[in-house]
Each structure stands twice: as C-alpha cells, then as structure tokens.
C-alpha cells in the first residue's frame, strides 16, 4: 500500500504498524515526533497504531536553527 511520508509517496506492506514502519526506515525513536493525518501519535502507541493506505505521515526531528 502507499503512504505519503514527509510529502512523498512511500510503499509499505499492508497491516504494518507505525513502530514497524519506523524501524524499516532505520529511524531511531528518540528525538522524533510523528504526525499521522495531522494528529500527533504518542510514542506509547507506535506499536499498536496500524497504518492504512493513503495515510499522511510527517516525521520530524530537531535541527539547527536560530
């Protein structure tokens, strides 16, 4: 199925959880935040959040800035 990850299309398997998806991407959980369809997903429910086709995900982190 296809998701929109940080504005670009991304293929992933049906039924994958957010936790699995982030691991597949090779991203550490620390220091990140995830928004799914404009709603923040708390870290505590990453593994119980099942992604669906068409989900719009934003994965953000802290970067240098003034």
């Amino acid at each position: 199925m296809q998701l929109i990850l940080n504005g670009s299309p991304k293929e992933t398997e049906e039924g994958v959880t957010l936790g699995q998806f982030l691991k597949e991407l090779g991203l550490p959980e620390k220091g990140l935040a995830v928004e799914r369809n404009l709603e923040i997903v708390p870290k505590s429910v990453y593994d119980s959040t099942q992604l669906e086709a068409g989900d719009r995900l934003e994965v953000i982190q802290f970067v240098g800035g003034g």
């Binding site: 970067v63 240098g64 800035g65």
Partner: protein
C-alpha cells in the same frame, strides 16, 4: 568588594535557574561540530533549535543531538518559518512530543522580507500554548504595549527584536527596549539584531536579562572567537547595568585632585 557584588547573579526562566544570560541559535554554522564549539565558547546553557522533517532517504545523517546533547544544553524549540498561529501551534506540539519539554520559543512571522513578527497571530498562538501548559518565550516587536499584552497572557519571557532577524544592525530602538524592561516582571531578552559584541553589551546595559543571537556568531569570520566575545560582552553589559553608570556631564571633570598642584 561589597557584599552585593559577590552575590550570585542568575537568570530564572519559568522557574529554572541559569548562570548564562546568552542564548545562542544553532543555524547557519559550517557544521554541527563548529556549532558545538561555539556554544561551549559562549558558555551558553540554552540553544534554540528548529523542527524539520527527518531526511528519510538518509537516516544515518548527522543529527544535532550528536554534537549538542540535550542532556547538556536546554533545547529551546522555535517556530522559525511559521507565518500563522496554526503553523506555530502544530510545530510546537510536535516539538513537545519529540523532546518532552514544555519550554518553547514562539515566533510567528509576518513576511519574508522583514521577518517581522506578526503580533496579532503571535498573541493568539501564545494564549493557546499557555492554556496547553507550554512555557512560552515569545519573540516580539519592540512595542511596549504588545509586550505587556504578551506578559499578561502569561508568557514566561519577552523577547523583543533589536533589529530584523539576521540583519546585525544592532539595537535600533533603545528607548523601547528600556520601556519594555522597566515594565516587565518576567525576563526580557533581546532576540535578533545584535551584530557584534558592543551591541550585546548595550542590550544588557539597557537592563535586559539576556540576549539571544544566532547570525552574529555563526557568520563571524571566526565564530568560536565571536562566541567568546559575546560571552564577555553579555557579562560586561550586565555588570555595568548592575553597577550603575556615572552621570553624563557636559564638560570635563578632572580625575586628579586640584589641590596641591605644583
């Protein structure tokens, strides 16, 4: 030395005490490594950080936290690049989820050319954030009336600009900065506009509680040396403010005694 001059002089923001009155940004540096060295040289305890999309194509890319540990420095998430209250709220809610901290720097900008804060949107966002439990340090114009409104809304620090962001033009309206300082019961920090050390000292001599800067250090020829200069300037300005300057006089007043001249 008087007892007063030995007293510890710390800055308290939202109930947390800091020894340093210089907050530095983490943008525009040649590398995160250089940034970390500058933060060290500046003696900074708080650094501003931006919130951006993770590079999902290259998750191994260097991260800010590899060089500036959030255990060592207080991360102050900003809303740089946000032009509406909604954008700023979304950004800071994500920041709180990512870092778990509630101290934030709110800035809602009006236009690209001046990066001037949009005060209507800023106040609107501040009210919502404070209701949601954030401690809001707010970037604002040097308008004493709006500064008061923001303080009344519950902001934990008022941060008027000295001049437009990244301009390095220095404190353009010392009268207003002084008025804001006089009325405020929360810390006032000049945020933006400082270009060199003397201007940081001027901000502090006006009675500001601190200075926040990015470009003045990052775009100096030698950023680490400038970071050190800024550290000394902020301390010098603060000490001069506390010491209380002499009165200005129209004419000379000899420093050596007139009596006993040969």
């Amino acid at each position: 030395m008087s007892a007063d001059s030995q007293t510890r002089d710390t800055l308290t923001i939202a109930g947390v005490e800091y020894n340093s009155r210089l907050i530095i940004g983490t943008g525009k540096y040649a590398s995160y490594e250089q940034n970390a060295q500058a933060a060290e040289a500046a003696g900074a305890e708080i650094v501003t950080v931006a919130i951006r999309r993770v590079n999902v194509m290259d998750p191994t890319q260097e991260r800010l936290s590899d060089h500036l540990s959030p255990e060592k420095f207080t991360y102050l998430p900003n809303t740089a690049g946000c032009f509406t209250a909604e954008d700023a709220l979304r950004t800071l809610r994500l920041a709180r989820e990512a870092g778990g901290w509630k101290l934030v720097k709110l800035e809602v900008l009006a236009d690209q050319k001046t990066l001037y804060p949009d005060m209507v949107e800023t106040l609107r966002a501040a009210e919502v954030l404070i209701k949601e439990g954030f401690d809001v340090m707010v970037y604002c114009t040097d308008d004493p009336v709006y500064a008061r409104r923001l303080e009344d809304a519950g902001c934990c620090a008022i941060m008027p600009l000295g001049a437009p962001i990244g301009s390095g033009l220095g404190i353009q309206n010392p009268i207003n900065i002084r008025l804001i300082v006089e009325q405020a019961k929360v810390p006032v920090l000049v945020d933006a506009g400082v270009g060199t050390a003397s201007e940081a000292a001027i901000a502090m001599e006006l009675g500001c509680d601190g200075v926040l800067m990015n470009t003045a250090i990052a775009e100096a020829k030698d950023p680490i040396r400038m970071a050190r200069a800024m550290k000394h300037a902020v301390i010098a300005g603060r000490e001069a403010y506390l010491a209380g300057r002499m009165k200005k006089k129209m004419y000379a007043d000899p420093s050596s005694p007139l009596a006993g001249l040969i």
